[in-house]
Symmetry: none
């Protein structure tokens, strides 16, 4: 059997050929393949169209060792991946009774009867290995030939990701050929892309000449910058060590602006600090509308430290729920540092938690004034050891302002707890 070093990915679905949808599954798949030293030679995107899909499958399997198809495994007429691949590989489709039983049980578990069309999802090309789907009805398929492997994955990311991970740890690991490509993601907040670039630039030249060269991509997104470092080496351990060293160099330059080097989101980092110090937190939000509390509670186990969250959208609710003095509101306006501080203090004392956050601002599109334009947000954080307050000016539309404000508030808590 041939070792796998080159792959192609075909994303299937007519929605991926419209102006509103882009294929993102291939990014996760690529990451998993690269970690095994498998390079992606090209990607194709085809609609739910038999002729185009067949042409793409035929063209791809002639050029690579591994073809990954994602999508088109549903139960409807539109879902063509299974029959087309079976055709091209000349393997008849037969019903796998075990899969039918599993799908039926899945529907029954939710008090529903399995629609007959779902039987299609149990059709398997002869000789294929069935990959279980923990989060949906469509099983994946691993079809091994002498010269190549064809892997079929379901389209929904929550079904595809665990399945791809299982394949990368299992059958694919055994057949992968290449030099592992290892990556690290460094997450930074509170700095612009150009500031980050300027600070890190001197390291680039050095890294490109190193025994194990490290390449860098800088990616700016809303409220954060990511540095993606990668190294390729026959020894995975050596590549990991080179990257560990590189990460330390970036941390030395960027200091507290680096909040994560292990893939964790900011809410996870804050949650870990709170857990570590046995602190509880309460959040008082106005313009972020619950987003900060929602992000904090996205983290498993957050019920140990999130006591409550109060979304005080009206002035009245700021007074009633948080005890913000009416005089403070009248003197400074709802969007002001004194009100943010009173909100943070209010949620902290009333709910008897250790850390309080207060956020008040103008998310837009209406409500801005010349002195306080849309995007103006006052954020306060209080803890037993001190407090902080600051006014930000964020750019962009309503949801962008909300997200950036939530990012700044979580980062303020992180820094307040970590810095002396």
């Amino acid at each position: 059997m041939k070792a796998i070093s080159r792959a192609a990915i075909i994303a299937v679905g007519s929605e991926l050929l419209t102006p509103s949808r882009t294929d993102t599954n291939s990014l996760f798949i690529t990451e998993q393949l690269n970690l095994l030293g498998i390079e992606v030679a090209f990607k194709n995107i085809v609609g739910d169209d038999r002729a185009e899909l067949e042409n793409a499958v035929r063209g791809a399997i002639a050029r690579v060792d591994l073809l990954v198809c994602c999508g088109g495994l549903g139960p409807t007429d539109d879902d063509l991946t299974r029959p087309v691949v079976a055709d091209v590989l000349k393997r008849p489709l037969v019903e796998d009774e075990e899969i039918t039983a599993r799908i039926r049980a899945r529907f029954q578990g939710r008090g529903l009867e399995m629609p007959e069309i779902n039987r299609r999802q149990a059709m398997v090309p002869v000789g294929a290995r069935v990959l279980e789907n923990a989060n949906g009805t469509a099983p994946g398929l691993w079809i091994e030939e002498v010269e190549r492997v064809v892997l079929l994955l379901p389209g929904p990311p929550r079904e595809l990701k665990p399945m791809m991970t299982a394949v990368a740890d299992g059958p694919l690991l055994e057949r992968a050929a290449g030099q592992p490509l290892v990556r690290r993601v460094i997450r930074i907040t509170g700095r612009s892309e150009s500031h980050t670039e300027e600070a890190v630039q001197p390291l680039y030249a050095e890294w490109s000449r190193a025994a194990i060269p490290i390449s860098v991509t800088i990616l700016a997104s809303l409220g954060q910058i990511e540095l993606h470092l990668s190294a390729c080496c026959t020894s995975r351990a050596a590549a990991e060590a080179a990257l560990d060293d590189a990460v330390e160099r970036v941390k030395a330059v960027m200091g507290m602006h680096v909040y994560s080097t292990d893939g964790r989101a900011l809410e996870e980092v804050v949650g870990a600090i709170l857990t570590d110090r046995k602190l509880t937190i309460g959040v008082a939000e106005s313009c972020t509308g619950g987003l900060i509390t929602s992000r904090l509670t996205d983290v498993p186990g957050s019920s140990r430290y999130v006591e409550r969250g109060l979304v005080a959208y009206s002035n009245n609710s700021k007074v009633e729920l948080l005890g913000v003095p009416e005089a403070t509101l009248a003197a400074h306006g709802a969007v002001s540092e004194p009100v943010a501080s009173a909100m943070a203090e209010g949620v902290r004392s009333r709910s008897k938690v250790d850390v309080g956050i207060g956020v008040t601002g103008i998310a837009g599109p209406d409500g801005g004034t010349p002195e306080k334009p849309v995007g103006t947000v006052a954020i306060a954080a209080v803890s037993p050891s001190g407090s902080r307050v600051r006014t930000f000016r964020f750019v962009g539309g309503r949801e962008m302002v909300k997200f950036q404000a939530s990012q700044a508030a979580l980062d303020m808590v992180r820094r307040m707890l970590l810095e002396p």
Copy 2:
């Protein structure tokens, strides 16, 4: 010369084959093509690799009337689109002195001398029409043959977009087969993909035989199903009318499960009903952790109807903030319909709003029991005209449970207000 009705897009660049970058240029290109009635048959993504690019170009021009390549027009060794396309079309490359002069002037305008390698950007396949680039050095190329057109565009979006717009208004307009493609998106919640498919299936056959055929794609995502309908007709107005009719047919079959036919999200639909009826809302959330309030406040103008949101994560906060009787908590447990109802009533009466939502459940991964497994969520809604309460069993991980619960809660409010 053949009229253009089918296109393919090839995005060129090795960065597009890494785990962190996705091609987005094709979305803009697709939009422009669709408006001229040109369908995108498939998309390819290839790296800066001569063999793969050549294979993709050769394969594509055999199947479509228009091939659009974006990227790979820079001045470096990596930039292969120009020579590869010239090779495949058997048109020698010759230097266009006018382009060289223009690039030289561009550099001089910034006080710089043109590097010699930039001459490559002035190399043009014989017979090609040069497309000016207002925002960069790489000109685009329009290469017209009897059977097809090949269009080369630069990769940076700010260079590509104005050039594509100019092409769509100019040479492409003259050759487009010219049946505009119009789309509608119908959003459905509270039904599975297969149930929706079964219900709508009888319409498919009819639509495919209609005077203006309508094609349908069904897309399932978390907590909702989307039906994408599209129609293609020489008269745009006729296509719109056919789609209007088709949307009504789907509404007749799916009834209240259809929540939007105009692109609006569920929180916008709920917001519009509240605004319309001059009602205010308060939300009491446990397992959704603020997500419902955050979604409601994503909508511009929501401060008119969102009075407050209370995230009562601990039992203590449910009693203190919402007045949930301790006896109810003790008798039924925190995750129960009586507690959800008491939360909805509590937020409604304490904050003096018209509509109250109460949500309590187990988002996981911990906290499940045999009787109340992870994913069990009790949701209640109260209004002046009535109340509802129901227990759901959602599947998937923590964030998935949170999202589905928020979707079900918003939908419960929508139905409570719309149904007699």
